[in-house]
Amino acid sequence: MVFNSIGFFIFFAIVLGIHQLPLSWRAKKINLVVSSSLFYAAWNPFFLALLWISILVDWQIATRMNSFRPEVRKRMLFVSLAVNLGALSIFKYGDFITQNVAWILRYVGLEYRPSPFGIMLPVGISFYTFETLSYTIDVYRGEEKPWKSFLDFAVFLTFFPHLVAGPIVRPADFLPQCDQPRRASHAQLGWGLTLLTMGLFQKTVVADGTLAPVVDRVFHASSLVGFADAWCGALAFAGQIFCDFAGYSLCAVGVALCFGFLLPDNFNSPYAALGFSDFWQRWHISLSSWLRDYLYVPLGGNRVGRVRTYFNLGLTMLLGGLWHGASWTFVAWGGLHGAFLITERLLRRRGHTSSDKSFPLVWVGTTFVLTTVAWVFFRSNTFQQASSLILAMAGVQRASLFRIVGHKEFVEVLAIVAIMLALQWHVRDRQLSDVVARIPRPALAVILAAMIFLIVTDEAPDRAFIYFQF
């Protein structure tokens, strides 16, 4: 069940209606767990079992962990990691691993032809795995005490707004919210619905309706594209993936707020970032902070010497790339961002620290262009496809400008990307709620009405949210 479906709105209305009834807080939490489980089962009922195995295993391990000696606790953490990452490996990376093993064996002269696993990827597995792991790791580290209520823990992991594509919620942020009855105030309900509308507009009208068809055409015909085609496709994808994922995150935060729960912001004007370290504090914030706290810092972070810091940075970004999908193109995307971050650190060490303040637009422009180039690897299915587009973007492949995209579409994409950049620059140091609060009420009503109208009447074919596949 996706946010941009009629089924979801019926589901949402029913669950929210029950949540508003004068029931006990416990009954309301049961309502959330049951309805969230149904929400998840709407994709594939079988995978609900997998989700609940994670919940039960990690609850048991974290609850009992503190009563054992450190060696046993370490083994218990290992079991949690093995169960969660094992499921992730099998379902998400099974085919990828066997294909690469076969490739290595063939390289050394051994013929091995594994049959494809043919397993469907359980939706949201990468997201809930990281959420549940953060709980057991926090308890193991002693940063969190085991939570007392299993029901609260089940609400934390299954809560449908963040279940399938984040934001990746931390137990310390969410579990305390389950302590007291939560019901949205009128202001929260109104703001939640506003966020939901804005998110659906970004997803349905901008990402799916306008940018996705151009992206599909350009990437499908990657070997034929001209210079302008390639840039148009890459820019369109930069816009599509932002509007798709940031749109989803806005919906998730908005829907959660309608129930009185606060989820962390996942995006903060990423295309207005002054450099890549700034970009990763603004793009998919819940993932980048998770990788920082549970991978980069445990590896030693930046406290272990310059070379080791660069290594840690590179490794974190490579694994971050792999988290997105079982393909070397994702690893290349992560590697590129690792290289950008390392280069930026080197530049800043050599005295370029103040240049972002002196020439902010140069930093923003450079960061955006390099990010757009990296997106080509993210979107491409193969390196051949990516290299065709990169060469065309460099102007070395074909002399012609336009072969795939029409002039009108090109202008449309440029206009949307320019508006997106200008808006992000305008709000980069402000809260979205503050920006919206400054809009006169009649004007806000007209904007909301226009968005709803366009969402309802848009004829774009349905597309799943891009991050569902991760």
Partner: protein, 332 residues
């Protein structure tokens, strides 16, 4: 908060109601959007548990979509009829899929219009049904419900028409094509597409189809037709083994299109196929009740003719032993 939302919702309702009423006044009618999701929801209904009346499933191209009203045929035949035809495609991948589906025990009415390198059963003609089947086999548990909800909405609201979206209207302005007119085609529940040829220049449309059919690929040889019949017979046998059957129908064509098709697939070749294939093969020219129908544009039936054609075809099928033997013991 509520003043903003109240005003916003009021504005949306006024805008939507205005479009709905204005479009209806200009002759627009609601139409369902055919998608792999909707097709899959219908395909799912072809699966019937033991003890439940097995349906008649109609597979083919646009000729079946425009020519057969599944709901009317269901009334005539007293059993569920499910239209799984897909525009511009070959039904062969669907026939194969039905044959392999152990939970399908119904009877199939399968359209065959020509034996050429262009179809049936070529990569080009099979690509669309293969896409639909891929969706069907990988869809989520919720997608059938969503497809049904959308079907209900689209069958009642004109403003759900793609041509009335703001994007299409703006595109029309760019193209200086300001006069958006109702289409001659729509789709109603049951995946039936009544065509109103009074809304278009029929002579021009006939020329279009004539041009399209003049580019048909070379015909199959007799040996290839026999090989095709053998391949298809394997699927027929699988369906028969579960109590169903398959009827192949050469659909109505007229004017220049018919001339081309008759040259492309001579009568002798059809007879060869009919004598070899398992299941029943019907040529519309051999059936008294069907042979006088005329395809308005050469290839498709007009909505005024589709109703009588559906009834005549239903009665013809009831007269076939292959169909009557598999007829449901209890009405759907």
């Amino acid at each position: 908060v509520w003043s903003v939302w109240g005003l916003a919702l009021a504005l949306v309702l006024v805008a939507l109601a205005t479009i709905e009423l204005a479009a209806r006044a200009r002759g627009f009618e609601p139409s369902i959007k055919d998608t792999p999701a909707l097709w899959s929801a219908y395909r799912e209904r072809a699966r019937t548990p033991v003890g439940i009346a097995a349906p008649l499933v109609v597979i083919g191209s646009s000729r079946f979509m425009l020519g057969i009203d599944a709901n009317a045929m269901s009334t005539t035949m007293g059993r569920a009829v499910i239209n799984l035809a897909i525009d511009g495609s070959s039904p062969m991948p669907i026939l194969e899929d039905l044959a392999r589906d152990a939970s399908f025990r119904g009877t199939v009415l399968c359209e065959i219009y020509t034996f050429s390198k262009d179809g049936p059963d070529t990569e080009k003609a099979n690509s669309k049904p293969i896409e639909y089947l891929h969706y069907f086999h990988s869809r989520t548990a919720m997608s059938d419900i969503e497809a049904r909800l959308r079907e209900r909405l689209q069958s009642h609201l004109v403003l759900a028409l793609p041509e009335l979206s703001l994007r299409q209207i703006v595109n029309g302005l760019f193209m200086r094509n300001l006069g958006i007119r109702p289409s001659y085609l729509r789709m109603v529940p049951g995946r039936y597409r009544p065509a109103d040829y009074t809304r278009i220049d029929l002579a021009e449309h006939r020329r279009h189809w004539l041009e399209a059919y003049s580019h048909l690929d070379p015909p199959l040889t007799d040996v290839e037709v026999l090989a095709f019949a053998d391949k298809v017979s394997g699927w027929v046998d699988q369906i028969r083994s579960r109590g169903g059957d398959v009827v192949f129908l050469r659909m109505v064509s007229s004017f220049g299109v018919r001339t081309i098709e008759d040259a492309q697939t001579p009568r002798s070749q059809w007879n060869l196929f009919a004598s070899r294939v398992h299941g029943t093969a019907l040529h519309y020219q051999d059936v008294i009740a069907l042979r006088d129908f005329v395809a308005a544009d050469g290839s498709h039936l007009d909505r005024t003719v589709a109703g009588p054609f559906t009834r005549a075809l239903g009665e013809t099928l009831l007269g076939l032993r292959a169909v009557s033997a598999t007829r449901a013991t209890k009405a759907p």
